[in-house]
């Protein structure tokens, strides 16, 4: 499925709802993106970075013992956690950093929730000699202190955002405000498949390598397409990257798992499809958690990266057309899956990713032992060790307290 018109709409979703001051920059970005992706030298440079720097292609790992916990289904993990910087986020950032240089800009700014996108942006900025500022909700700087330290080590300025809910939503507001003021020399490296056009389409393009590799790898390993591909969905970039490889294969179910927080019935969640409605947030029309007056409702999730009241507009369209199915996964279900993966496969996943794993466990039990499922292992869980230790009531001693920060 592709963008359905030149203004970046996916059905009724997407588009551009931004201050006029940003229109010129978005037009410039759109033109630079479209020129770059048909330019062999750009494609070769990006492919070279993916291979030599990120470490792609990453494996598609058969998870036998985890599969046994998924109703006996055959489950493969797409190992985005093995990328340099530890998540899928680097795919998008390297592409946008190259575009930043092509546009002659010298600074990148980014928002970050869990810190994975911020770390990836700081990394690419260091690699390419760009200045970097990352906006992060103050609440998130506390629960993801390790990533704050990583960004600072990489030379980025991290700005804790102290307004609103102090999470990802507010970090995006602040990044947009910075961008309006600095757009002449600054590129806003948006970290997911939402925002004003061309971001949703562009970010999906840079992540499409996930689905492309996974499709080739599963055909090589199993000689057939999977029955389902599954991923967690915050903004939805890792899911869009995986889905894009299978979207035209009608037999492949596309499954997205959003944060059910403390339970959809409690109101403390980030389940946009379960409880949200179409609206406009951060430059795009999409599903939004909003009250009857159109005010954004604060989301809640144990996972900073899924704690966002909006979702990528292409997901909204995939949802409405029925091509993809989205379900909430609670904090508890995600942490249970987190523990299962640790102990069955020796892989500590990011808590975001654990939502997709919980979804695969649910899906496998429904589909049965003949099912073939790919789960996007979108990120590794080093950053979440302190949160997980607290969740499981483990005493890890003073060292963890330090890395947790205050």
């Amino acid at each position: 499925m592709t963008v359905t018109d030149s203004a970046g709409h996916f059905g009724p979703y997407g588009g551009r709802f931004v201050p006029e001051a940003l229109t010129a920059a978005l037009d410039q970005l759109d033109a630079a993106f479209r020129a770059a992706i048909i330019d062999e030298s750009f494609r070769a440079e990006l492919a070279g970075l993916e291979h030599d720097y990120t470490g792609r292609p990453n494996p598609l790992t058969l998870a036998r013992r985890f599969g046994a916990e998924c109703g006996g289904a055959t489950v493969y993990l797409k190992r985005e956690d093995l990328n340099h910087t530890g998540s899928h986020k680097i795919n998008n950032v390297l592409g946008q950093a190259l575009l930043t240089k092509r546009m002659g800009k010298t600074r990148m700014i980014a928002e970050t929730g869990a810190g994975q996108h911020g770390v990836a942006t700081a990394t690419a900025a260091a690699l390419m000699g760009l200045e970097c500022t990352v906006y992060m909700g103050e609440s998130d700087t506390k629960r993801q202190a390790l990533n704050v330290a990583r960004m600072r080590l990489l030379g980025a300025e991290v700005v804790p955002v102290t307004i609103g809910s102090r999470t990802l939503k507010d970090a995006i507001n602040e990044a947009m405000r910075d961008w309006v003021s600095s757009v002449e020399h600054t590129h806003y490296c948006l970290g997911t498949v939402t925002g004003p056009a061309p971001f949703p389409e562009m970010v999906r393009y840079f992540h499409s390598v996930i689905g492309r590799e996974a499709r080739e790898q599963i055909l090589a390993a199993e000689g057939r397409l999977p029955d389902a591909v599954a991923a967690c969905v915050g903004g939805g970039s890792n899911a869009m990257g995986l889905f894009s490889g299978f979207i035209d294969d009608e037999s492949v179910q596309l499954r997205g798992y959003e944060a059910g927080g403390q339970g959809v019935e409690t109101g403390k969640h980030a389940a946009r499809f379960a409880q949200g409605s179409p609206g406009v947030l951060h430059g795009a029309r999409t599903y939004v958690m909003q009250d009857e007056w159109g005010q954004t409702i604060e989301s809640h999730s144990i996972s900073a990266g899924l704690d966002y009241p909006g979702v990528g507009p292409e997901h909204a369209w995939l949802h409405d057309t029925g091509r993809a199915v989205y379900e909430p996964v609670t904090d508890t279900e995600a942490m249970d899956a987190f523990a299962v993966l640790c102990r069955t496969e020796g892989i500590i996943p990011a808590i975001e990713t654990a939502h997709g794993l919980a979804g695969a466990m649910r899906l496998g039990k429904t589909m049965g032992p003949d099912a073939l499922i790919i789960v996007n292992l979108s990120g590794r869980g080093d950053k979440d060790v302190a949160t997980a230790a607290r969740w499981f009531g483990m005493d890890l001693g003073a060292g963890v307290e330090v890395s947790e920060g205050r």
Partner: protein, 267 residues
């Protein structure tokens, strides 16, 4: 000061006095609905020609810290679009020439047609939409045409001449020229960008062109008034209210600022 029946009449009145119009912004419901009516009435009494009644929104990404804080206070006070329409109705009844300034989602959620209907009934004359551009405004254009509501879009220093032509084609009432690349809030100095933007916009339209973002003093108002048809002041009013200990103090501060700005547009 008496209410003008149209924005055109308000600008014609200012022009007849050989000056620019003064446009003052305050969010409805800030700090409470009743107090915002009182403050706006003060702005009108002290010399604002047109009032921009702000519709508080949870994610005001074109606004700086002062307005963010004000809308936060308004939202915590329970302000809804219904409150905003009631405030418009009350200040219009008291003699204000009023438009609404709103981010897009609350209007879309309220219902585009319903909002235009209710605003017309309340006596509001137009709506400024800072995050809606003409490309996404199909339903809005139809609804505002049907109800005689002026559609005020923005141009910015980064807008190309072709963009300006496209934006003003869909605009009515007046053109809002953002003075600088940035969010709302007082600036100690205003650069040359605003004057250049107005000069580039002039050939594209016969509509009045008003400059906003960053204007906070009588001196700045005088400078802007030398090349624009209207001077828009928002954060400076909001700041006066935030800094006041009581609503009476806020009224006194608003009166003083309005008089200073009104003198500026007349110099």
């Amino acid at each position: 000061m008496t209410r003008h029946a149209s924005l055109a009449a308000a600008f014609a009145h200012a022009k007849s006095e050989n000056r620019a119009a003064l446009i003052g912004y305050l969010p409805a419901g800030f700090p409470t609905a009743a107090d915002s009516v009182r403050l706006i009435n003060q702005m009108v009494a002290s010399g604002c020609d047109i009032i921009e009644v702000g519709l508080p929104y949870s994610d005001p990404l074109m606004d700086g810290p002062a307005i963010q804080e004000a809308v936060d206070i308004a939202l915590h006070a329970g302000t809804t679009p219904e409150t905003v329409l009631e405030v418009v109705e009350q200040v219009v009844a008291a003699g204000a020439t009023a438009v609404v300034m709103s981010y897009w989602n609350p209007i879309e959620r309220y219902g585009v047609e319903r909002f235009a209907t209710r605003l017309e009934a309340a006596g509001g004359l137009g709506v400024i939409t800072p995050d809606l551009t003409p490309e996404e405004a199909g339903d809005w254009i139809a609804a505002t045409d049907a109800h005689g509501i002026e559609r005020i879009f923005l141009v910015a220093p980064s807008s190309t001449d072709a963009r300006i032509a496209k934006v003003v084609e869909s605009t009515s009432g007046f053109v809002y020229a953002a003075s600088t690349m940035g969010v709302t809030g007082a600036r100690t100095t205003l650069g040359s960008a605003a004057g250049e933007l107005v000069a580039r916009t002039r050939p594209a339209t016969d509509l009045p062109i008003c400059v906003g973002v960053g204007v906070s003093t009588g001196e700045q108002a005088a400078t802007v008034a030398s090349y624009a048809d209207g001077v828009i002041v928002g954060s400076a009013f909001v700041k006066r209210v935030l800094d006041a200990a009581t609503i009476d103090d806020a009224c006194i501060a608003i009166d003083a600022l309005t008089r200073e700005l009104a003198e500026g547009v007349r110099s």
